[in-house]
Subunit: 383 residues, 2 copies
Amino acid sequence: MHGEFFLILRKSSNYFAPYRFPHLTRTTMIDKSKVTLKDIAKELGISVSTASRALKAHPDIAKETVRAVKELAEKYQYVPNSLAISFRKKKTFNIGLVVPEIVHHFFSNIISGAIATANQSGYNVMVSQSNDVLQDEKAAVNAMLHSGVDGLLISISNETVLGEHIQELMHAGKPVVQMDKVTDHLKTPQVIVDDFDGAYQAVQHLIQNGYRKIAHFRGRPIVKNANQRYFGYLQALKDAGITPEKDWVKHCVQINEAEGYRFAKELLEGPNPPDAFFCITDLVALGVLRYLKEQKIEVPGEVGLMGFSNWKLAEISSPALSTVDQHGYEIGVRATQMLLDSLAGASISSDAITEIKTNLVIRESSGRKKVQQQTQEALVGNN
Amino acid sequence: MHGEFFLILRKSSNYFAPYRFPHLTRTTMIDKSKVTLKDIAKELGISVSTASRALKAHPDIAKETVRAVKELAEKYQYVPNSLAISFRKKKTFNIGLVVPEIVHHFFSNIISGAIATANQSGYNVMVSQSNDVLQDEKAAVNAMLHSGVDGLLISISNETVLGEHIQELMHAGKPVVQMDKVTDHLKTPQVIVDDFDGAYQAVQHLIQNGYRKIAHFRGRPIVKNANQRYFGYLQALKDAGITPEKDWVKHCVQINEAEGYRFAKELLEGPNPPDAFFCITDLVALGVLRYLKEQKIEVPGEVGLMGFSNWKLAEISSPALSTVDQHGYEIGVRATQMLLDSLAGASISSDAITEIKTNLVIRESSGRKKVQQQTQEALVGNN
DNA sequence: CTGTTAGCGCTTTCAC
DNA sequence: GTGAAAGCGCTAACAG
């Protein structure tokens, strides 16, 4: 009901006016700022090639000439036409970046790291998103291919399996680096989160704090990351001598808060309630937390809780949510470095896998379990 | 302490190998995919210009020729060299986008909207960030200028006043549209949030729900948006016949959760406690909420609370935070539309201001105040 | 040390 | 209907 917007137009000068008079453009307006090598060569009575070489201080060129050319270039604020250079060199100094979702804490961190790194080396980054839809991803990748990026960073969509569209780009000689959501069908370097280890540490931490009946709300089995976290969970239980309880593993269809709430309720009202929850994502964990608070179940103490991803959310929930930080920024940085290296001529193995270690972020929700008489032997390890 | 990462390298085939043998590149590897107009013209025994025209079905060209050319183009998967086209046409079909921070719910929404819109029209978007540092912004803008964007979308940094670097780009004939964080020194269209009205509505809503002693935790006075929200707050009070209390307006230095907590504590422990809080941002509001919950103050009921921005945070806090949605995505869309229009030759007034209406998101924290005997007359309007 | 030449791939007069 | 030719701005043999 608040859906309408309104528009105010104040009229006066037309900044964009030049576009209305294309016939004037060439001679009067734009060319002012377009001094070419030819212009400065002519003025100095030298050849274009000499001017070109002088500007990059080619050893062959006389110091005097270099000085004169540079001076004039300065005077006229000569700026080389990058379009011509791109054309000539078949290189744009642009790299492409495609992620499933831009509005997402983890991915925007990746983007941020990638852009910072690329810019430092004089590259610009073209960003696009797939919305986890294969068609959109294809469109994005093709657009980038056609607009002439030098290479591509990509985190594939849920729907992407073989990635022929990416293959095509590779055939065109563009290096590709995959990030986080990856497929092994594509023979490219990968920079991924060590989800297994992150989950392992999270669960181990719960165990060390006295929880043993640990439930896991996991993601869809087609998604590699979800599997890795699940396997990490299993391994941590195993290493602590705990037998996993099948009923305590729930598959989230949507990765959201409601799902956490729903499963927590289901399990906690059931005959065999767990005493801790490790959730695929902070959002799911906060759903669990909501249920626990509603039921006035003490967190931590009675029940322990761990999320995954370290969203802002986790920091300011109460109790503050313990979670696992995935270092999205770092992933962006590393992936970009690899891409730039290969663009600079380095040879990088097509199946180099860089695993970025996660970081346990221990806040309140995973604090030590309150010891009860009959379960004192549950204390394993120390805090 | 968890700061190290590790790296696994598996070795085998070298996808990037071509880059190691530049002398082979030209003849053996890459050219395969680079069929040019010349190639297909030669094979058909026609001239390049005819081929060019045929591909775009120029009316002059014989139908037969058109068919033959298109067929061959299809067969060879001819894809026009976009670098050459850019060069020739002095147009890249890329637009630049600079924001203070990519990892920020509002800005990433803007980015998302801008990219979606641009892509639809065949434009790619080059993204960069200023970190609210003038130097970085200059670097970003210059990089974009030099890499040949056709136009620029920008949300300026806190440190930007005159924006000469942006002016420079405009002089080079590139249209610019400002978004959200804007300066009037730059004669460009602006797409902004109606912060005044958003704040006005938020405060009005609190008043309608029975709160009259409304505090405001505001942002820095150099920031236009912060002022607008403050003015909206004042106006809403005024229109309800409430005299603003100077002590209830606090200046946040950092816009964060701690700041909200701090000021809430200060005011609520003071001699003249307010009964509601309108905060410059959801984050600040959540700080207030934390204090309220600690003190077991009922929200809503005893105290009402409104944020601004509608972050994910607001949705899942408890009580869920009422707030103001700024429609970041919509801003990105509108700004991009304007830019594309002007790129397409439309003349757009240099001071067109598009104000995007905000949206009151009413959740729990602003619910009706509990009526006490002596304040029944405080009921104004209806729910 | 410097100039000449050729050409990147495409578009666009201008002829025929 | 089609082709020839010029040129966008720059680089890089090659030849002096």
